[in-house]
């Protein structure tokens, strides 16, 4: 069984919102109709988005770290939003595990959005139906696109490759390996929703430099006869001779 998902690397996300913009661009132009923007150029603009990038500060100054945190539907394996839908408009595809809303069946009761602990669903005030990330289902199977472009718009646009896309049930996929080897985790595991999307934690890249590494044993200063504090230190030749 396939479960398509995103794996988001918080270590490299720079919070540029490119995924937000390209998600909106792709999905507002699709056959499912536009994603409504209310008052886009006026005061208090608001609109429907599938994907948001948030920013958090961890720790206390000066020991702080900034984490940019993209959030969209996590395509939960045990999606609580699906069984509560009275119409069956919300459903989880058996073939690839994508959670979708059938906009032609949705009655706009908003009950599913109450049942998503992550706030991943947004109501479209114009179409009066519930909307959410589709994992670009209208793109990833499109045979007319070159294979390299059959990926969600957000993944395509990310300049730092913070977003990986693939089948988390296939142990040899890029995403499974990333989750396995780089400490991939799920959001709010306490509710048993088993989100398919995973996040890769921040990592510290440290390089230890020892004192003697600051002075090259093959001392170029001495060779070049530049007078300095270190120019008298031995060179490699001194040891060899």
């Amino acid at each position: 069984m396939t479960q398509l998902a995103l794996v988001i690397d918080l270590n490299v996300c720079v919070g540029c919102h490119a995924c937000v913009t390209s998600c909106k661009e792709w999905n507002t132009s699709g056959q499912a109709g536009p994603m409504f923007d209310d008052n886009p150029y006026g005061q208090d603009p608001t609109g429907t988005f599938f994907n948001r990038v948030q920013t958090y500060e961890i720790g206390e100054f000066p020991n702080t770290e900034t984490v940019h945190f993209p959030k969209s539907c996590l395509h939960c394996e045990d999606a609580p939003c699906v069984p509560v839908c009275p119409t069956g408009a919300s459903f989880k595809r058996t073939e690839d595990g994508i959670v979708l809303v059938d906009y032609d069946k949705c009655i706009g009761c908003k009950y599913c959005s109450w049942a998503c602990p992550y706030g991943a669903r947004e109501f479209d005030e114009q179409q009066k139906v519930m909307k959410k990330c589709t994992l670009c289902v209208d793109r990833i199977y499109d045979q007319s696109l070159p294979p390299a472009e059959r990926r969600p718009a957000c993944v395509m646009s990310c300049p730092t490759s913070a977003r990986l896309f693939g089948d988390v049930h296939d142990p040899d996929s890029e995403v499974s390996i990333a989750i396995r080897e780089r400490g991939g985790y799920q959001l709010m595991p306490e509710w048993g929703t088993k989100p398919a999307n995973h996040y890769l934690p921040r990592r510290k890249t440290r390089k230890v430099i020892h004192e003697d590494e600051l002075v090259r044993s093959d001392n170029p200063l001495r060779k070049e006869e530049i007078e300095s504090e270190h120019s008298r230190a031995p060179t490699l030749d001194d040891w060899l001779m």
Partner: protein
């Protein structure tokens, strides 16, 4: 959560309707075993059923305002296997159908001797018994719509369902007391006593849930929300500035003090004042009893607002700072 007026009116109005129907059937069963004087089918039960029907229709109309696409509303009956909302959507028309049937049979004074025991009201008692089961099923469905969402911890409790039953019952019996004051004065003591008992029980249940909710231990926190184990995490940006569905739907948008004053308002209007008025009016004063219902209904509007507003959705963890 952001309380929607459609939901407030839907749940309170159908609560009165169901409670009133239960009150009629209770009176009829007492009368069947001669504990109460028998009432006229047409003037008492048929009129009572009509009033219950009006409350249910009012609730149904309110619910339509909640939907983005009411014209597809029929689809909501399809997922009854998994969705409590779907179950509610099925049971509500069923309830209305039974109240209608009950009223019509009474209106035409149709009392066939079904069981060969020679007493009146056999058919209507059968409809009443089925209706009672359905009324409780509707209360349970309505309550479970809220109680079944486990991460809305204020709602996820059996007390939610119990309170829907008790509050609906209380308002229905209070209305019935006012109704009989005009229609069958010798029943005022009977209905008034029940109204007081149920209102008091509802007070206990509701205060119980207030106590429970004041002591909730949250399962989710900002650490589990973004998956970073650090005691100090601060949101710096939610990703947009103009607000979104996430900032509108999941928060009542009022301050703590407003919430507190609504809580006191509903406790006084739903329980204290009606209990007092019922106690005074039980002597048979129709105006006071009607006032008791009026005050209690307004109180229930506040109660439902508070019930919806108090629930704290874990998604709010992601929306703390613009």
């Amino acid at each position: 959560m952001h309380p929607a007026f459609s939901v407030i009116f839907l749940t309170t109005l159908i609560g009165v309707g169901q409670g009133l129907f239960l009150a009629l059937v209770t009176g009829e069963s007492y009368a069947a075993v001669n504990l109460l004087p028998q009432q006229s089918s047409r003037e008492f039960y048929a009129v009572g059923a009509l009033l219950a029907m009006l409350f249910l229709i009012g609730g149904l109309i309110a619910s339509i305002f909640h939907l983005g696409h009411p014209e597809r509303g029929w689809r909501a009956a399809t997922r009854w296997r998994t969705s409590w909302l779907s179950r509610e959507v099925i049971v509500l028309p069923l309830m209305m159908g039974l109240v209608f049937l009950y009223g019509v049979v009474h209106f035409f004074d149709w009392h066939p001797d079904l069981f060969g025991v020679g007493t009146r009201n056999q058919l209507t008692l059968v409809i009443g018994a089925i209706g009672t089961v359905v009324a409780f099923a509707l209360f349970v469905s309505t309550g479970m719509v809220y109680a079944s969402i486990k991460f809305l911890q204020e709602w996820a409790s059996p007390l939610t369902v119990v309170n829907y039953i008790l509050l609906g019952g209380a308002s229905g019996f209070t209305f019935a007391t006012a109704f009989v004051a005009y229609n069958a004065p010798d029943l005022v003591t009977f209905y008034g006593t029940w109204a007081i008992i149920i209102t008091f029980a509802a007070l206990v249940g509701r205060v119980g849930s207030l106590f429970r909710n004041a002591r909730i231990k949250r399962h989710s926190n900002i650490q589990s929300a973004i998956g970073v184990r650090h005691p100090r995490i601060q949101q710096k940006a939610m990703g947009f500035m103009g607000g979104s569905y996430n900032t509108r739907e999941y928060h009542h948008g009022k301050g703590i003090s407003a919430l507190k004053s609504v809580r006191w308002t509903f406790l006084i209007l739903t329980f204290v004042v009606p209990l007092l008025l019922l106690w005074i009016g039980i002597a048979g004063n129709g105006t006071i009893l009607l006032a008791a219902f009026g005050v209690q209904y307004v109180g229930l509007l506040f109660e439902r607002w508070f019930f919806l507003a108090q629930a704290n959705h874990p998604q709010n963890l992601y929306y703390q700072t613009i």
